[in-house]
Amino acid sequence: MILTWLIVILLIGGLLALPAGRLGRKWPAVISLAAISADLALVLFLWAGHFIGPTSGSRWLIQYQAKWIPQLGIGFHLGVDGLSLILIILTGFLGLMAVASTWTEIKERTGFFHFNLLWCLAGVVGVFTALDLFLFYLFWELMLVPMYFIISIWGHENRYYASVKFFLFTQMSGLLMLAAILGLYFVHGQNTGHYTFDYTALLGTHFAGAMGRWLFAGFLAAFLVKLPSFFFHTWLPDAHTEAPTAGSIILAGLLLKTGAYGLLRFAVPLFPAAAHTFSTGLMAVGVLGILYGAVLAFAQTDLKRLVAYTSVSHMGFVLLGVFAWNELALQGVVVQIVCHGVSTGALFFLVGALQERLHTRDLDRMGGLWTGIPRFGGTMLFFGLASLGLPGLGNFIGEFLVLYGTYRVSVIMTAFAALGFVVATIYALWMVQRALFGQKRSDEKIIDLSLREIAASAAMVAVIVWLGFYPWPLLHTARQGLTHIRENVQMSQPAGSPATLPPNEVPKL
């Protein structure tokens, strides 16, 4: 029941925020803050229980099941394992950061804004907990529509174009997934005579011929667009750049992560054979994304667009790691998901703060900012370094584990992906240089980070440093989920390369 509450609190909060806008501009934000805090407290409580309580070895730490439309085999089935738990905590944390960013930025129709914010977050939490594919699809759509409104109403200059592009990309790919879900439903029904959308029942479904591969492709479409992987990424720079700060934080920090989660939870476990067939190609796409995104980030002159392209690069590591599919790589993927969420969220937070002060995102009009606003400068430098994978910060752990895991599958892909470290250094230093260093462009006095902004930044810095030096709690929780996810899927790796590689054997290139 507690899982249902996680979603319901956000939905109710949204409904309350809607009229609260009439009471005063700040009221909806306060309601958002309260609802998200309540959610975060609940899920942290669950997390603490995970450490204290006996590890039962069961697959779901907690689950809730109710009848919904039994005639069609649709159930209201929610459940969390270690992986979902981590992602829900991330949702709560970034939700708070997003609200913090709206404090001075969102001035109009705040009630409706926070309604959208909370309903989008409810959709995200739903996606991370749903164990019924029909329900999952419902939540998948629930995230999409409020985000469309957030971009198209409160966005920047080119918001209409960006929001429609975002909507079309995600909606089209979502429809392909819906088709695949229905296909899976019928295949399973015909095989067993039991028609159901229940995730646990559908696991291990047997497919004849190419059917498995087609259905896998349907799921893949939705998740690769959302991630986004190379070639499906072009909605992202527009959406990120045009969205208001809170929208960018949620997009980068959470919505992209639903793509990664979908791959881990659904695409690969439901279609292990198909996933195996395509694994090498998808890893190559991941590597391509790492390098392509990084090079494009370097070329940008719009600071926000630059940060958006770094997401393409960092999500390449996720795709690479998911299809390397060994424990090292998957743990790396989880760390990368969390750290990218926090550090990129932080960068968007800072870019938003800067835009409020300078009224521009154009790097050509910045420079020398360190002199006037050193606290801002130091924070931005920190997250720039997180972005380039500096050891001691959490992002390094994620990327290192992914590459280390990939090394055991393919040396050549690891080598190319590792080049991403060099290109990331180039764009991160270039960003810092153009914004913070060099000659000051104007003598206009700008104000350094406020107390609210410092508090939010400090929280994000703390998470990144914590995960850089002591990621055990995260890894431990993730392991609980990943073990079960990996259990039934033997992504049997190319000969002579898994962890059992004998010490003298040269791995396959």
Binding site: T371, P391, R408, F421, V422, I426, G438, L501, N504
Partner: protein, 620 residues
């Protein structure tokens, strides 16, 4: 003793945190006190820990703080390792570091960002100590990247000048190319040897890999990639001369005494691996020899006093690589130590001049400074003599001579390596005394307007003493003695040969001094006419620009990369989707134009449709 070792990296780290969080609110004296004091605490602790280690019978020990990660048997730890090698490294880093911090309290006094400077410097010292003390290869990598970061931050310390930013980025990016190779090397080692502990890796490598096996060669070559970047050796040396854009104490500490020798330390630390890969070890020697020669020539042509010292540093690290390459591991560490003393001394001496002449770097605008700053002159002379390896009284003589002898007599040595080393020694001597003669002798061309105080003088005197006395420490014997850390020196010579080789080396040193005297003090016109000739001018410019490496990299890597990136700024992939959108809009346009409201068109449409339907029905 045990846990105290943690205080050594922790004290400067605490200093960094204090300065980073509260630095701007502290008065300058307090910031300087925190900055220099924290390194002082580290130095005193290091001395105590080092002496207890040397006096104790415990032998090399690992100190583990906590498990960093634990994933699928991958269990790197936050842990330190104390043995002879790490003791030498930490003592040099902390004490030279402390002296340079002390010097900086005065040198940087009038600069903006005083506390920021000390914050970066403290973070550097802490990272460097993690690098040299770590027992875990991944934790070492953390220190390795940490020093790279601090180097970047300090080269670009004066950030309003975009040129400094460019130099800083170049340093970070070039070294990161090497670091990426190193990271792949780590994947290889961790995968095949199943541990991250450096000692464990070495034991297992020796047990599992035969000499010359593919994996051993690949692992050594990849680690070498990291070492070449960090230690500015061919072909990744180009960043170091530009790194002189940073404040002079930074050049002394990071780009001369400590960080740039990290590659030497890494190879010495993993020497077992390099012994298993003779090809790579030979490459180490060859690259070292080549580097020391090329940068020696470049040093002779520079007019910027700091760039002379920068090329000299590249060249001296070349000697260390040469030593490593012939298996004389402890000779390399010995030269690292003496080089740290005399090169830090030379930089700090140059700093006095630059400080006193309002950031003037051009030696040809100095001249005759001997009488104005006598103490700086004498200490600088000692430093230059040690660099030129003047026999018997200087530390540089002992360490460099040892390398030359080993290059000739070690089983892995070769005559050509020895001869290159000898030519390099001649060049070293020439450029060292060229610098002394041009700067301190001749007619006075400038007036020092800021005389150094006590905080700048003390480090000069102490380092001068070490540049003389450091040579009498028999470091190689200590490192291969009790609790042996490194194997003994490979080459052996009889008394007579040794004497002969020393005599040759001495003659070369003095010869260099004479050449410098003749060309730059006695007959400077001769140099001008040499450089005036067409071929002389060409050669001069070629050497001056560092043998054109920058040009090659700019033309074939940097500019094409930037051009391609800029060209694709709008993202060519998006064109695909734009094309789809365009097609849709086109189809919409075509179809909506049929919605014209004209009855005749509609009637014709209906008629055509009917005919087609009937046609299909009839003919199929």
């Amino acid at each position: 003793m045990g846990a105290w070792i943690w205080l050594i990296p922790a004290a400067p780290l605490a200093g960094f945190l204090i300065l980073a969080l509260a630095g701007s609110r502290l008065p300058k004296q307090a910031a300087g006190l925190v900055g220099a004091g924290s390194v002082g605490i580290a130095a005193i602790t290091a001395t105590w820990v080092g002496f207890s280690y040397a006096a104790g019978s415990q032998g090399p020990t690992t100190y583990r703080a906590w498990q960093w990660l634990n994933v699928a048997g991958f269990t790197p730890g936050i842990s330190l390792y104390l043995d002879g090698l790490s003791t030498v490294m930490m003592l040099v880093v902390t004490w030279v570091g402390f002296l340079i911090h002390l010097y900086s309290t005065e040198f940087m006094l009038e600069e903006e960002g005083y506390s920021r400077f000390f914050a970066y410097m403290n973070l550097f010292v802490s990272s460097m100590l993690i690098l040299v003390l770590s027992s875990d290869l991944l934790f070492l990598y953390l220190g390795w990247e940490g020093v790279g970061l601090c180097s970047y931050l300090l080269i670009g310390f004066w950030y309003s000048d975009p040129a400094n930013g460019r130099a800083a980025r170049k340093a970070f990016i070039v070294t990161r190319v090497g670091d990426t190779a190193m990271a792949i090397g780590l994947f290889l080692l961790f995968t095949h040897l199943g541990t991250t502990d450096i000692q464990g890796l070495m034991t297992r490598a020796a047990a599992q890999w035969p000499t010359g096996s593919t994996l051993a060669v690949a692992a050594a070559a990849l680690l070498l990639g990291g070492a070449l970047g960090k230690s500015a050796q061919l072909p990744l040396q180009t960043w170091l001369p530009d790194a002189m854009a940073g404040p002079t104490p930074v050049s002394a500490l990071i780009h001369a005494a400590t960080m740039v020798t990290a590659g030497v330390y890494l190879i010495a630390r993993t020497h077992v691996l390099f012994s298993l890969a003779p090809v790579v070890q030979y490459a180490v020697a060859a690259l070292g020899a080549l580097t020391l020669l090329l940068s020696g020539f470049s040093a002779i042509t520079q007019w910027d006093i700091k760039r002379v010292l920068a090329y000299s540093t590249i060249s001296q690290i070349g000697y260390m690589f040469l030593a490593l390459g012939v298996g004389a591991w402890s000779a390399a560490i010995f030269h690292f130590m003496t080089h740290a003393f005399f090169k830090a001394l030379l930089f700090l001496g140059a700093g006095v001049i630059i400080h006193g002449l309002n950031h003037e770097h051009n030696m040809f605008k100095m001249g005759g400074l001997r009488k104005q700053i006598p103490l700086t002159f004498w200490t600088f002379l000692i430093g230059a003599s040690s660099l030129a390896a003047l026999p018997l009284v200087t530390a540089g003589f002992y360490s460099k001579d040892l390398i030359l002898v080993q290059a000739l007599t070690s089983a892995q040595g070769a005559l050509w390596l020895y001869l290159v080393g000898l030519v390099g020694a001649l060049l070293t001597s020439i450029y060292s005394f060229r610098m002394v003669f041009i700067t301190f002798f001749g007619e006075a061309k400038a007036q020092i307007n800021k005389k150094p105080g006590l905080a700048m003088h003390i480090p000069l005197v102490v380092l001068a003493a070490l540049s003389v006395g450091g040579g009498y420490i028999d470091l190689p014997a200590m490192l291969s003695g009790a609790h042996a850390t490194l194997p003994p020196l490979p080459g052996h010579v009889g008394m007579a040969t040794d004497f002969f080789l020393k005599a040759v080396a001495s003659a070369v040193s003095f010869g260099g001094v004479y050449v410098a005297y003749f060309f730059f003090l006695r007959r400077p016109a001769l140099v001008r006419s040499l450089v005036g000739a067409t071929w002389g001018d060409l050669l001069h410019r070629y050497w001056f620009s560092g043998w054109g490496f920058d040009w090659v990299y700019n033309t074939f890597l940097v500019r094409p990369f930037a051009a391609v990136a800029r060209l694709n700024r709008k993202d060519v992939i998006d064109l695909v989707y734009r094309a789809i959108a365009w097609l849709n809009r086109l189809a919409y346009g075509v179809l909506s134009s049929t919605q014209s409201g004209k009855m005749r068109w509609y009637a014709m449409g209906i008629a055509l449709g009917a005919i087609m339907t009937i046609g299909i029905a009839v003919f199929t």
